[in-house]
């Protein structure tokens, strides 16, 4: 059981961050991470710990996420719309919130596999681990990541552009 302690101490932070970015909800992310470690308890042996944990967490999310995704996406959109209509003097806070909302949108627009690969890579998983967790061929991880990054940046820039245009229109 000390092994699970070690697993938790080693990977919990990265896993929760990965899941938070994946889900856009920290509480949910923590729940999923805990469930992941609970499953690790039942496992007799894990070959690649990090890959295994991220894979299990990803699978745990997937089922539930399917159910929740549409609802949450809708809420996220509503929240962002509301934020956009608000005129707040607190520039930094609203600025950050808008950035986060745009990032959320840009990430959500990615293909699931691209998104997961990218988020895992951000948590330091190497190509072998990502391949294992997502059941990809190791050779395709580079392609997946390059596509994910390009699309993410393009999505974000498009959102940024439309926001700037909105602001310009609002100002004129």
């Amino acid at each position: 059981m000390t092994d699970v302690d070690r697993l938790f101490r080693t990977y919990n932070a990265a896993l929760v961050r990965y899941l938070t970015r994946r889900l856009g909800d920290r509480d949910w992310a923590e729940e999923v991470a805990q469930e992941t470690f609970v499953r690790a308890l039942r496992q007799t042996s894990i070959q690649n710990e990090r890959a295994w944990l991220f894979a299990v967490a990803t699978n745990l999310v997937r089922d539930e996420a399917r159910k929740d995704m549409r609802r949450r996406k809708h809420l996220a959109l509503l929240a962002e719309e509301e934020r956009e209509t608000m005129v707040e003097p607190e520039e930094t806070t609203i600025e950050r919130a808008q950035e986060a909302a745009m990032a959320r949108k840009a990430v959500d627009a990615l293909a699931e596999r691209d998104r997961l690969a990218l988020l895992m890579r951000e948590e330091g998983l190497d190509y072998t681990e990502i391949a294992e967790a997502l059941e990809l061929s190791p050779g395709s991880v580079g392609t997946t990541l390059s596509r994910a990054r390009r699309r993410l940046v393009e999505n974000y820039e498009a959102l940024q552009k439309s926001r700037e245009e909105r602001e310009k229109n609002a100002a004129s």
Binding site: R17, T20, R21, G24, D25, R26, D27, R72, L75, A76, A79, R83, E90, T93, R96, A97, E99, A100, A101, M102, A103, R104, A106, V107, L118, L119, R121, E122, D126, Y127, S140, V141, G142, T143, T144, L145, S146, R147, A148, R149, R150, L152, V153, Y156
Partner: protein
């Protein structure tokens, strides 16, 4: 070698290529501007996507934006502290203004009646304790020293013995009650420790007072002994201009000019809540008298009051209409004489100001 595909470039930059593959990629990029540009772009994409993903962390919990953190100045504790501060400052203003005589306003209330009794009783006791000191004038000097001390500007009350209300007779209240009052007056004011007040009530020799007297003696030795009136202090008091004149070594008079401030309503509202402090002031005073400061109809042009050896003359200033008060531990005649001198001094000072 053919151009590097985007996946390979990312793999290379992510350190996922074998040493062999990495070396080959590096060699190619060195001689291929097109691939070098692609590598540069890939670096930019990696950095940018990393930054975008970090932005996701700015909304840590839930998609619904978290409530904005309450500003530090808006927290309950700070609000409470601010309220206390406002009340405290307000009280101070009120207490100082009470010098103007607004203390007389709540005189009809039972509470104030008690205050008057206590202060009167205290006064008697304080006088006793003073008699144990070398001389009355030293005792007066002791009070003067307190007045001069900037940390206790409120002590101005010590010397400005105001004319007594007609017919007010000091009524001695049980010591126990005084102690209780003393304790309550100490709340919120560290200037007078309850034990010190108790000491005054029980008329024991106060080491603090005698030491103060000694300090004054030293001061007096240092001071010039000139016949002209010397200002030895101007305690700052809201609503009144107070000047202490040394008429002789160890002999001081207090000259009070009550300014016509428009704070009456404020004072009246606050006077009751700050009563303990007002009482404390009077208790520490050598003389305890209460009088409405502003000249009311029917008040003679000037009044003389003698209370516990302290004589007070009050009269309205002919030019400003402000109420002037002069008090000191001396006969009326001498005070009158000093009054004239002060008036002359004031007139000459005013003339200097307006050339």
């Amino acid at each position: 070698m053919q151009h590097l595909d985007e996946g390979t470039i990312h793999s290379w930059l992510d350190g996922a290529l074998s040493a062999d593959e990495a070396a080959r990629a590096e060699a190619h990029v060195a001689g291929c501007p097109q691939c070098a540009a692609a590598v540069a772009e890939a670096r930019g994409l990696i950095a940018a996507s990393s930054r975008i993903l970090t932005a996701l962390d700015h909304v840590p919990r839930g998609v619904v934006p978290a409530a904005r953190p309450v500003a530090w100045y808006n927290r309950a504790a700070w609000r409470a502290a601010a309220t206390v501060l406002v009340v405290a400052v307000g009280s101070l203003v009120v207490v100082r203004n009470s010098e103007r005589g607004t203390v007389a306003l709540p005189a009809k209330s039972d509470k104030f009646g008690t205050a008057a009794q206590i202060t009167a009783a205290l006064h008697g006791e304080t006088a006793t304790s003073k008699s144990e000191l070398a001389s009355p004038s030293t005792a007066l000097g002791a009070h003067a020293s307190r007045v001069v001390s900037p940390s206790k500007p409120v002590a101005e009350a010590d010397l400005s013995s105001k004319p007594t209300r007609a017919g007010s007779q000091p009524i001695i209240v049980p010591t126990e009650q005084i102690r209780d009052e003393a304790r309550s007056t100490a709340i919120g004011e560290k200037a007078v420790a309850p034990s010190a007040v108790k000491g005054a009530v029980t008329a024991t020799v106060q080491p603090a007072l005698s030491s103060r007297a000694r300090g004054v003696t030293t001061l007096q030795a240092a001071a010039h002994e000139e016949p002209t009136l010397k200002e030895v202090g101007t305690p700052r008091v809201v609503g009144a201009k107070v000047t202490l004149y040394e008429v002789a070594p160890g002999d001081t008079v207090t000259f009070t000019e009550v300014l016509n401030l428009q704070l009456n309503s404020v004072v009246v509202t606050g006077a009751r809540t700050v009563e303990p402090q007002a009482r404390r002031m009077e208790k520490s005073a050598a003389t305890v008298t209460v009088q409405a400061a502003s000249p009311s109809p029917g008040v003679p042009p000037w009044q003389v009051e003698v209370a516990n050896g302290v004589t007070t003359i009050s009269w309205p200033d002919s030019t400003t209409g402000n109420m002037l008060r002069l008090s000191g531990r001396m006969p009326v005649e001498r005070l009158q004489e000093i009054k004239l001198r002060i008036e002359r001094q004031r007139a000459s000072a005013a003339a200097k100001k307006r050339p």
